[in-house]
Amino acid sequence: MSGVPRASETAMPDTAAKTDQIPVTVLTGYLGAGKTTLLNRILTEQHGRKYAVVINEFGELGVDNDLVVDSDEEVFEMNNGCICCTVRGDLIRIVGGLMKRPGRFDGIIIETTGLANPAPVAQTFFVDETVRTRTRLDAIVTVVDAKNLPARLADSHEAADQIAFADVIVLNKTDLASAEELAEVERRVREINPFATIHRATRGDVPVTALLDQGAFDLERVLAHTPDFLDDDAHEHNEDVASMSFEVTRPIDPERFNAWIGALLAAEGQNLLRTKGILAYPGEDRRFAFQAVHMMADGDFVGPWKEGAPRHSRIVFIGRNLNRPQLRRGFESCQVKE
């Protein structure tokens, strides 16, 4: 088909400034982990604020001020034929509908079903122009059953995926687990995802301020907290979700990086759950922030490098079957020539 309506690549003009974007919190968690209890806490504690809450099963929600939207989770494949390139079609529709209402919501909270893979929700924020201009993904909050997590990790991929995607993890029902069990569960969680903030709770009793308005999908914050033990090569798992981080000292050549990361995501995107990077480009005073969910990637300049601090570029991968030497060599080869 020859029809190219227009040669220009210009997209929709930004009708909403960044500050006008409504924060979206995604609440995930395996069946029985205590997700609905936590959601109820959030809604009853937020007096005077107005949320739109997207749910699948209409439970007993304490909603005076809030709008509840009942939605069937509809995961749509994009028509590139790739199984990991999926979006939540229902969210695209719902966000479009919510934007027609007057008066702003203070936020949108999306509760996913227990078995949901969080990737389609996150990818929706990369793909749809209305969703990405009008809202921003504030944080993915995952509720974990402290007692039963080891069993869940053993019998499902989804439990690990939900932890891998989390910015905030609520380790719930801690009263039912021993101190040793708790320590082991935290260790397992950290192994999958070293970046998330962990809060211990018994009945979802986490302050709402620790869950909403986190700006956690914000790369700067995440990478500022990158723990150093990530560079430890001691643990190598294959089918398990793991994370790896690499740092280089010379500036990154944008063309080389784009070529490398493009080829890597195309080849390994199904195994790469999340990729985040802060890059130093030659002669550029601002940091370039890169992020991807599976194959869907996005990048933009964020604030300037700190005065006097070393301009080291850093990239983090969370995924399955990660090949450490190959990833390290690849990232190193993106540096400008000495």
Binding site: P5, T15, G89, G97, D128, E129
Partner: protein, 343 residues
Amino acid sequence: MSQAASADHLLETRGVQRTLGAFVVAAAFDRTGTAAFALGDGSLQLLHGSEWRSVAAHDGAVLALTADPAGPGFVSGGDDGRLMRTARDGTVAEIARFGMKWVEHVAGFADGKSAVLACAVGKQVHLFDGAGVALKTLAHPSTVSGLAFDARGKRIAASHYNGASLWFVASKSDNPRLLEWKGSHTAIAISPDGDSVVTAMQENALHGWRLSDGQHMRMSGYPGKTRSLSFTRSGKWLATSGAESIVLWPFTGGGPMGKAPTELAGAAEVICTAVACHPQMEAVAAGFADGVVLVADIASGRLLPVAGPGRGPVSALGWSADGARLAFGTETGFAAVVDFSRT
């Protein structure tokens, strides 16, 4: 005369305008020529002559609007899960309620003898007769994203994930003709001859099916999503939004395959957000993200400016049945009706 003044000339000399303060979701005329604007605050704003009337039709946002196929007035769907009928005098009556699910699309068809009304609620399309009596429910594999009757009211098409379903309205056996194409389809139109069904897709493209021979049609290259698509009265052109011009695909001589579209009213970096073909002539009204509204004559390419920029992205357009008047509205709540008839 300055540029800006001339762009607003028709609006100022032949228009009735108002700032309504809420997102204008849709605009339509009923059979008597009353205009209605459906708003994000749940109201319908009726305009009869130069007299406005505000009607509280929904508790929430209005999501869809059509002229009442059964008589004067309008039918609307909202995120309150209700399908409502609003008379010209502002009387509101509930046709149906569907609980938590949004009523996202409505469509009506009327000829001299009968009227049919359809609404989409989640995965289902509900059909009603003119009196509002439920006729039947059509089930789809995923949420319905668009609805269109054919020109004779015999069939209704619904777009959804992985294609569209085409149903005979009067059929006793409820099996649709499935038009399949992988991906998320988000809006739908049927050509006046009933032979082409075209959908808009999530991936900034259109997909079409020619029913007589099963030919697929793929129209791509849009910088944005097509939200609005409309066939001209003759069916020779399909006008679409989603690019920095009005994109018109030729549907004559074998269809759009292998042909370049005609582009009118190109404006660098300003996306066309709404189109509505004239009910009588080969002309199309278009609205843009900067608020510009114009009417384009397709054969000559001549443009008639209706409103200049600055009143918000155009979100609604509708012609009166005789084509003498155009209603338009914007995301920021501006609404107007412009009268083109000779005085």
